[in-house]
Amino acid sequence: MAVWNQLEALIPQLVLIAFALLMPALDYLFKDKRLLAFVALVPLIGVACAVVAWLFGGYWEPPTADTSGLLEINLFTGLFMLVFLSVGIVVVLSSPEFIRKDRNQGEYYSLILLAITGMTVVAEATDLIALFVGLEIAGISSFALSGFRKGESRSAEAATKYFIVGGFSSAFTLFAISLFYGVSGTTDIYAMGPLLEGMFDSFEGSDKVVLLATVLLLAGLGFKIAAVPFHMWAPDVYEGAPTPVSGLLAAASKKMGFAALFKIFLVGILVVKADWEVAVALIAIVTMTVGNLIAVSQTNIKRMLAYSSIAQAGYILIALPVGTQYAVAGAMFHILTHAFMKSGAFMVVAGMASCAIGEKLDDFKGLAKRSPFLAISMTLFLFSLAGIPPLAGFASKFVLFSSAVYGSIDPGPSWLLWLAVAGVLNSALSLYYYARVIKYMYMEKGASEERVKVPPMTTVAILFALAMTVLLGIYFDAVVDLCMQASELFSGLPPGL
């Protein structure tokens, strides 16, 4: 049973991969392609239920340690899995209507499952190589997904762009990993820190190599999370990719980048925090500001949401320079809520597309008359993104920004307060473009007043995201508590609350 023990931590991935391989075959069997979506939901909902039962019910315990030393299931992993799987569920639910006229639907769902598999591997990885493999599985599946409508030039352009940028990103990341390995002699994230420190004393110049590797890693993962100045690809790709896939990229794929960042920066190379904290803080402020400023001038809703995602990445990045467990908890909480509100917003756009409404902001004019459901859902998602209480986005921003305020008091340095100030000022700025969409929906007359009917599965997807957005805003004690417990795994950090 030794082999079995080594595979225990891989069970979720094995389930997902099995179904992923099954999908193309089922494509030949099913006349009604919508059935494919239901099959794809089985592993997603199944694993998600298992994770929920573990995290919130305590009905079972996952295997604590994996003997292979590459993967580990812990609370941190569990929360990220929850993010990826929920987004997967929302995306799959709203896909059948969106791609009903496309070919190769089996492959489409197969790729979504594989992308999510890759993300879960990243969340579980305790080793740089395993982490990189996960990044690649997810990356390659997403490149193919963005080019799913290969006949459409926008989609093809998006895939090409994403592929090239993704290639660079992987190259940087891998190079950085090789340098870390060269200095420390290990790829184990948890063992790396002390080894690096030991080398600084005995081997002159090694700190320079680590600095170079850190910069490369920041660039490589910066592409993944679309932090400024590595963000150029995101709006083009989100605009060109099929809308449910854009939702997957913005709400899940990006979060994978954060899982990797937290593991490497707050565990692996925490010893050199002094070298990177100012740089990351500046990137955080620039990212949120640039994202919000450019979002103001967008006329396409998907591009606007893309820039808003960039801004949100800036908020989440606050957690790295603050570097307390409370900050990590806030970041994880924001990652979770952002997954629901952002995927929800994209699914509203996908739902509109299913009703033959376009993606321009002008197309939102008069939406409240045409579909009150889409309008009120979009309103709540956007208010939540802007951080208006009592919605989920407010709750998580509250925890995240307050961690910066506390970080500036204890343990310091006091400039951390400016991260919170930048965060709230940006939230106010973002309200401008979110409120404009709401204004279009409720206060202006559209070209058409015809009522539209939203496909039932898209409705379910939006309702699910909406329920989570509202519930996590009103009552989030259990989730914050879990995030706090998960953040205790970052044992090198001060508690910060």
């Binding site: 208010f383 209480p389 008091i409 000022l425």
Partner: protein, 501 residues
């Protein structure tokens, strides 16, 4: 009678339930006003029950009494962060609380003939009521902030959907301007929470620690809070959102905006900023006083220049809310009580003024003073109500504002003696712009700029709310002690922090 009944929570929940029902009425749009009126009326009656059961000199052993607050309720909410759902009223919040249920009910009556999207309209008034009520009874910072922000959303929609020609600009300006101010307050709240380090967002628990913060920290946090509350008040120079919002908002929106939302700013100062950070408040007294006097005078002078009746009333709010700030700035028993009383008085009076502007707009199709004139001949009741409203607002003795403003002046004289001559100039300016406006719009020869042949006098649904408000203005003008006796003890508790007060 009320023992064991969570009456404050019930009063907050009622409009919430009412709004959900109103929004989901479907095709039965004409029911919306009845549902809204029903729920707001029940909330009003229950709040009056609270007001009459409120003990002016509380029996500290009674159930529901907790540290100066009555009808106290506490439920845990987000334990991890130390957030609880805590509500209670004292003599400062009680007048605001009743004012809220009263003005919301009267606004619904006043809007009785709303034809455009009535479900949303009445539903939003109820949502706004939930938010404002929550602000006035919250005793937990997190909760306070949540309710504070909830208020913005219905007001944004009211201006943006039912507003005048320039509504889009006004709605978004209102929303973002006040949201930025709220965020400054949020940062200040976080700073207090962490500096205190008690692991709870309870106002009382944090205040127990925050009074001992170093002077520098107190001044810093107080400044952020002062900005957050001052924009809402509004104080010069952060008042520019107000005239835009008022001019474009529908009448009920203006009534609630001036009658309730502005009070949130004053309430925040006296509930949060001053008692939590006494040293900060002391150091900021000169700033508060100068800004208050500037608001009083500048607001009044702006009124003189207005051609739009409603814009004039809007600017007069800046001037009158300056008295609230001036009262608080004295940090004396008399001054603070007067400030709180002025909030209540202004709530009643300004509601009358905005309703009368709404009536004029409704009847004549314009509010431009040069186009009006001699309307008293056609609409005697309108002219009478408007005259009483204007006289109340300019501080005619026997009406409610006189008592409040007189006390503010008395408190100021007590503290800064002859400096009183600066703000007292405003009395003359105020009388000037009100009487001049009255003369040009209601009296004199009948205007020929608008068609006056079909003008009818006031409708019941517009006249009744105004009449009720005027009755209250007279009642509390003659018997201000009805409220003083309740505000006094609460203010005394706060001022104990200032060594005698």
């Amino acid at each position: 009678m009320l023992e064991g009944v969570p009456i404050l929570s019930v009063i907050i929940l009622l409009p919430l339930i009412g709004s959900l029902i109103t929004f989901s009425l479907g095709k039965r749009e004409e029911w919306a006003k009845w549902v809204a009126l029903g729920f707001s009326l029940v909330a009003l009656v229950l709040s009056l029950v609270v007001a009459f059961a409120f003990m002016a000199s509380p029996d500290t052993t009674a159930t529901g009494y907790h540290n100066g607050y009555q009808f106290y309720e506490e439920y845990s909410w987000i334990e991890t962060l130390g957030v609880s759902f805590t509500v209670g009223v004292d003599g400062i919040s009680l007048p605001m609380f009743v004012l809220t249920t009263l003005l919301c009910t009267l606004s619904i009556v006043f809007s009785w003939d709303t034809k455009r999207r009535p479900k949303e309209y009445f539903g939003l008034i109820l949502v706004l009521e939930v938010g404002v009520l929550g602000v006035f009874v919250a005793l937990d910072y997190f909760m306070f902030y949540v309710f504070w922000e909830i208020v913005l959303i219905p007001m944004y929609f009211m201006i943006g959907v039912w507003g005048g020609p320039n509504k889009n600009y006004a709605a978004i300006k209102f929303f973002i301007y006040t949201h930025v101010a709220s965020l400054a307050m949020l940062i200040a709240i976080m700073a207090m929470y962490f500096e205190a380090g008690v692991g709870s967002f309870s106002m009382a628990a944090i205040a127990a620690e925050s009074v001992n913060f170093s002077r520098g920290v107190q001044v810093g946090i107080f400044a952020a809070l002062f900005f957050g509350f001052g924009v809402k008040l509004p104080m010069v120079p952060f008042h520019t959102w107000l005239p835009d919002a008022h001019v474009e908002a529908p009448t009920a929106g203006s009534v609630l905006l001036a009658g309730l939302l502005l009070k949130m700013g004053g309430y925040g100062l006296i509930r949060v900023a001053i008692p939590s950070l006494p040293s900060g408040a002391e150091d900021m007294v000169p700033v508060m006083a100068v800004i208050a006097v500037a608001s009083i005078l500048y607001g009044a002078m702006l009124c003189l220049a207005q051609k739009d009746l409603k814009k004039m009333v809007a600017y007069s709010s800046i001037s009158h809310m300056g008295f609230v700030l001036l009262g608080f700035a004295t940090l004396t028993q008399l001054g603070v009580v007067a400030g709180v009383f002025q909030m209540f008085a202004h709530g009643l009076v300004t509601a009358v003024l905005f309703m009368m502007c709404g009536v004029v707009q409704h009847k004549c199709g314009t509010r431009m003073i040069p186009s009006l004139g001699g309307l008293a001949k056609k609409m005697p009741i309108v002219a009478t109500l408007m005259t009483v409203g204007f006289l109340a607002s300019l501080g005619l003795p026997g009406l409610v504002s006189f008592a409040a403003e007189f006390m503010v002046f008395a408190a100021m004289f007590d503290k800064w003696a002859l400096w009183l001559f600066v703000p007292i100039l405003s009395v003359a300016i105020t009388a000037a712009y009100y009487l001049w406006a009255l003369q040009r719009s209601m009296f004199g020869p009948l205007t020929d700029k608008i068609d006056t042949s079909h003008l009818k006098d006031v409708n019941w649904y517009e006249g009744l709310p105004v009449a009720i408000l005027i009755a209250l203005i007279a009642l509390f003008g003659v018997f201000p002690a009805l409220i003083f006796s309740r505000i006094g003890p609460a203010v005394e508790i706060i001022l104990r922090l200032f060594g005698g007060g």
